[in-house]
Symmetry: C2
Subunit: 474 residues, 2 copies
């Protein structure tokens, strides 16, 4: 007998969360991590479950689900796989809506009896009318619902959804992209995808009004037809960025051991991405850069022409080479445009040919004037300003980190962007030392705060923008 299964919307807004297998705060205790994360996020009804404790991490602790006085919609499980079926009986009795298994050691282990165990778990969930997330994953992060599964990520919601077969990527992405301005509607790590899988998630996010951009890390697809249908729906409505893991022999082997994924159809997968206007990326860094580009490049550039502005001949040559290899085009400037630039940029030690390199391009007035001249060139569709954080650049007054430089620079770029109607991007190169990192993070926060897309190198910016321009032009 099958009963009505809860919708994903219900899963994303639980009223109470039980954490089965919560334990004392110590390394590798996922249960304790979830309890602490929920506390940090301000989730109102957290119920640690462990017969060993009466109190845990400052909260009353319960011997089992039935002992919990309040409503429990969502259960987080980190007890051994052997106890999974018995626990699911408890879940049914408590009338929960979803059970998330952090617990690993199921089908991905390669043992037949563990694959059979998964099937029995799914049957029980179907019969009792609850959903399973995982097993072998870190589950749900829904900022709006204060549902958290990690620490360090910003807790304010935003328009990005991320689905991930990897728990590590699911925990890392919001943390790593926080300082670059990305905020999330929902992040779902679904591991082996026994019940909730990539197809259903993509269907949901295609029409989720809180989600404007979808990112996905996928190792294997279980139901190809459903997935492709969902991808078609999603890509019609919003940008979808997919990173497919398990491309090479060693990657496939790792993916199989990681989430029991069979990744044989790489070519089919890539062909489907091309056909369905999906933005495919090659690694998680590129995923981050493309999400930043989609979120903050304003407007999306109408072509691949870029003007590169900043100081340093070496970086400029590198920019010319690396950015053209990455798929952008640096249009040559006419003599007239060069002459106009020469009106306020010095000749000596400067390159006025795009890349435009001059020492006074550290001064807001020169930056702004340069952007306005280049912004008028028809085949320049976007402009990028690059800035390094070498000690020399913070020497003689430490200007790059000072409000006296930053705020005028931010304002100059904002006004220039508005005036020219083309997106301005930032490439800020992280320094190797702690002092420099302070300056760098301050500058990044200022530009991100003003709504600019910030990349960490010219080539990374070019790689991401080339993907976005190609997507826009399909």
């Amino acid at each position: 007998m099958e009963t009505k299964v809860p919708s994903l919307d219900e899963l994303f807004s639980p009223r109470g969360v039980a954490v089965v297998g919560a334990s004392q705060l110590e390394r590798f205790s996922f249960g304790a991590l979830v309890v602490e994360s929920l506390k940090e996020a301000g989730f109102p009804a957290i119920y640690p479950v462990n017969p060993k404790y009466a109190e845990l991490l400052g909260l009353p602790c319960y011997p089992n689900l039935q002992a919990i006085p309040g409503v429990v919609d969502h259960v987080v499980v980190s007890i051994p796989a052997e106890s999974a079926l018995a626990l699911l009986d408890d879940c049914a009795a408590k009338a929960v809506k979803s059970v998330h298994f952090f617990t690993a050691g199921f089908s991905e282990s390669g043992w037949t009896e563990r694959a059979e165990l998964e099937n029995a778990m799914l049957a029980k969930a179907r019969a009792s009318g609850f959903r399973i997330i995982g097993p072998n994953c870190v589950g749900l992060f829904v900022p709006k619902s204060r549902l958290a599964n990690s620490i360090g990520a910003p807790l304010d919601p935003g328009p990005i959804a991320f689905i991930s077969q990897s728990g590590g990527h699911a925990q890392n992405l919001p943390f790593y992209t926080g300082p670059r301005g990305l905020r999330f509607s929902k992040v779902v790590s679904y591991g082996n995808g026994l019940d909730v899988d990539e197809g259903e998630l993509l269907q949901y996010f295609a029409v989720d009004p809180e989600t404007g951009i979808i990112g996905a890390y996928i190792e294997g697809v279980k139901d190809g037809e459903r997935f492709l249908g969902a991808l078609r729906e999603a890509t019609r409505r919003k940008p979808v960025v997919v990173y497919k893991g398990g491309i090479t022999e060693a990657g496939k082997r790792a993916a199989h051991g990681h989430t029991a994924s069979l990744t044989s159809s790489v070519e089919v997968f890539h062909a489907a991405c091309r056909q369905l206007k999906t933005i495919r990326v090659d690694d998680i860094e590129e995923m981050i850069d493309v999400l930043v580009a989609l979120r903050f490049a304003n407007p999306v550039p109408r072509g691949n022409g870029v003007a590169v502005v900043g100081t340093g001949g070496g970086p400029s040559v590198l920019a010319g080479d690396g950015m053209e290899k990455a798929g952008l085009h640096l249009p040559r400037l006419t003599a007239e445009v060069q002459a106009e630039l020469g009106g306020f940029l010095p000749m000596a030690g400067a390159i006025l040919s795009n890349p435009v390199d001059a020492t006074n391009l550290l001064f807001p007035e020169a930056i702004s004037a340069t952007m306005r001249v280049l912004g008028k060139v028809p085949d320049i569709h976007m402009l990028i300003y690059h800035l390094g954080f070498h000690p020399v650049s913070r020497w003689g007054g430490g200007r790059l980190s000072s409000a006296a430089f930053l705020q005028p620079a931010v304002d100059a770029l904002l006004h220039a962007q508005k005036a020219i109607g083309k997106p301005i991007l930032l490439a800020l190169r992280p320094p190797p030392d702690l002092d420099g990192m302070k300056d760098f993070l301050g500058a990044q926060a200022a530009f991100v705060g003003a709504g600019f897309p910030v990349f960490h190198s010219l080539c990374q910016a070019a790689r991401a923008m080339a993907r976005v321009v190609a997507w826009k032009q399909v």
Copy 2:
């Protein structure tokens, strides 16, 4: 009449340095930067020259070269190009050995009369028996001689020589690579290469006993035959890593505006590199990674087989894909080896197939035991341990940053490397926040201090090691 020209060895150990055009400490004053750098490095005889001041930056300041009481072997020049010839007359009168022009606006400006000016300068240098470095460059950094041209780089000498047509790369490389353990014999930024050029420098470093590894950033080669001869000599004796700037149309344009380099013969250049056992890299990040690999991979791996060890399924899949694409091979482990690993690594949530991923691979005993098992596999030629700095990894005790974790981990890897006779590499992923960066820099310092090559991602490690293995196998 030509007189004997000083050798490069004489240029690298001046007894006194005059800085012509030194000015008050302020942004973009290269003269002031050099004076401060020399002071910081402890150079004993620094003579600022500027008729406007009697004292500058805490030192007596002289109106001209003739007024300096002591010996002046080396002159650093940052006055306008128009005054260059008159200054060279002063240099001749003072019997200096070398003149470094930071001053730009010569042949790279594209103006015919400035190219002619360069020729007149060279003629004067030849007639008077001194050498010219540049123009349009940042000149010399020789730690052993306390000769410095920037701030932030370690001042202790080491076995790396770096020659660079870009001043930015010359100043950046020692600074960026300092925390990764690279130290330099001599760094020469030679700009337009009017007199001292890439060919002569390469000839010198080929036989320089203080130099074990040569890096070069080259935009254009003026004397192809001399350069190739020097490259042949150098590559016979030591590893030579070359990054050629100006590959694409935009890169070439920038290179021409940057150092007046004509970069047309890219294919010829690359063919020569292949033939002469030169390690060619595609950007400055890869230059850094390859130098780190050459300096610290111990011994150089005898093949491209790698074992990847650490925690995190997502990173492991990424590692499998990215590292194989970069040219390394992750051999599949036999059932026997996997069983041996299973003796001390958990089954659940683990991948024992290479990449090897298990949560207890954050404990030194498990790391060491894993390395020893994998090190016995014949087609594994190197082993890499990877570590992230997500808040979760420093949660529940902050182990990764604590001496309680770091020192045992370093010792475990040192002993394992010695026991297996194959190099162990580190991939430490930099975090996006200041707290994480403190942990990261502490961990990096510990591993670098013990002599390990540290990379900032698995893929960057793979890319560099693939270059080094290919070079070793030629």
